[in-house]
Amino acid sequence: MVINHESQKRFTESKIKHLDKLFSAYFGFPNVFTELNNIPNSKVNFEIKMHIMTLLSEIVFQFQDEDNRAKYNTDRNFAWAFLPIASGWRRLSADDFETTEEGKILPSVSANRLGSLMYNFGAMNFSLLNIISRSPYGKQYQNRYHRNLMMMTDSMGSQIRDKVSDAKSKIFWKTENMGLGGWDSEETLIHIIEALYKGVAEW
C-alpha cells in the first residue's frame, strides 16, 4: 500500500501560524514551522519532519507555560529543570532501552513520551536545539530563553552516557550524517537548519 504522506499532516495551517509567531517571540527564528512544513518529503523524510515539528512545538509551549508560571508566581524564577521534557529525559534509564546489534533503542510504545521524543533521532535533536539556543546571531545576542534552552540541552547532553551505560561497555554515536543516513545520502539536518534560517533577516 502506498502511503500518501502529504495526507498525514498533523499540523493545521492555523496551528502552524500560531507556532511560527510563538517560536519567533521566544527564540527569534521566524516562520520555522511554515518552512519546515514546506520541505518536500523527498528532502526530509515525513516522519522526521513531523518529529522535529512536534519537538519544537513541545519546547515552545513548555517555555510559554513556564514563563507564565514564573510571571504570576513569585515562588521561583523560570526554571528549565522543571520543564516536562527535561524531567522526561531525566527519567529515562537504561531499563527503558532494548539492546539491538547496532545500539540501544527505545520500544516503539514508551510510557515516557517526552523522554522518547528527545531520544529518538537524538543526534539531530541535540544539534538543532544547540543551534536554536545560541540565537540566530550568536551567543552575544541570546535572550534568557536561549540561555535556559542552552543550559537544558547541555545538561541533557551530559547525561547521555548515563542513559545507556553499564560499567563495562563503551558508548559511541555514529558521526556520519548525524546517524540519519549513509555516506552517500543527502544530509537531513542541513535541510532542517536551512528551514530554520530561511526567515531570519540580514543573512
Partner: protein
C-alpha cells in the same frame, strides 16, 4: 528506512580478550611516536585510520604536529580546523585555524589533563564528568559554565567525519586520585 540507532553501546573487538573478558588496555607512554613522520604514519593506519588533511562539507581539517608534539604523551592529537557554513555566509559559527583535540582513548583522559594540559579550568571541584572524543576550547563547543560540551553538535560531527572518526566515543573522565 530512517535510522534511529544513533547511539551505540558496545565494546570494540580490540577491547575483548579471546576468552571474552574485557581487556584492560593501558598505554605505555614510551610507545607514542616522537617525530612528526612517526606520528603521521601511526595515525593513518588501523585502528585509527585518521586523515592528515581533508575537507568534508563546511569543515577543513589539518593535523598539526606543532600543537601535538607536547601533548601526544597524554594520548591527544591536535588538529587545526577551518569552518565556514556556506549556507549562511559570514555566519557567527565561522572560524579559522581553530584547535580541536582528538583523544585516542577518552576514558584515559583525566580531569587533571583537561585542566593542566588543555587549559580548561572549569572543572574545579568536579571529580567525574562525561567527555567526548573530540573537544575544542572554541566557545561553540563549551557549555555555559565553560566545560567541554558532550551533546551531539553538527559542527563537531562534521569535523569528526573530516578527521575520519566514524563513531564518536563518550567516556567518563575522572579526577586523578591524590
Amino acid at each position: 528506512m530512517v535510522d534511529r540507532k544513533w547511539l551505540k553501546h558496545r565494546a570494540r573487538d580490540d577491547d575483548i580478550e579471546n576468552d571474552g573478558a574485557f581487556r584492560d588496555t593501558t598505554y605505555d607512554v614510551s610507545e607514542w611516536p616522537t617525530t612528526e613522520e612517526e606520528c603521521v604514519s601511526y595515525i593513518v593506519q588501523a585502528p585509527f585510520n585518521l586523515m592528515i588533511e581533508n575537507t568534508h562539507n563546511c569543515a577543513t581539517i589539518r593535523f598539526s604536529w606543532d600543537d601535538t608534539k607536547d601533548i601526544i604523551r597524554y594520548g591527544i592529537l591536535a588538529y587545526r580546523v577551518d569552518w565556514d557554513w556556506k549556507l549562511v555566509p559570514e555566519h557567527y559559527t565561522k572560524h579559522e585555524n581553530e584547535l580541536y583535540y582528538v583523544f585516542f582513548e577518552p576514558s584515559k583522559i583525566t580531569i587533571d589533563v583537561l585542566e593542566n594540559v588543555l587549559g580548561n579550568k572549569s572543572y574545579k571541584s568536579i571529580t567525574s564528568t562525561s567527555l567526548k572524543q573530540i573537544v575544542s576550547l572554541n566557545e561553540l563547543h563549551l557549555t555555559m559554565d565553560g566545560k567541554f560540551r558532550v551533546a551531539p553538535c553538527g559542527i563537531m560531527t562534521t569535523v569528526a567525519i573530516a578527521i575520519g572518526i566514524r563513531e564518536m566515543e563518550i567516556a567518563q573522565s575522572v579526577r586523578k586520585e591524590g
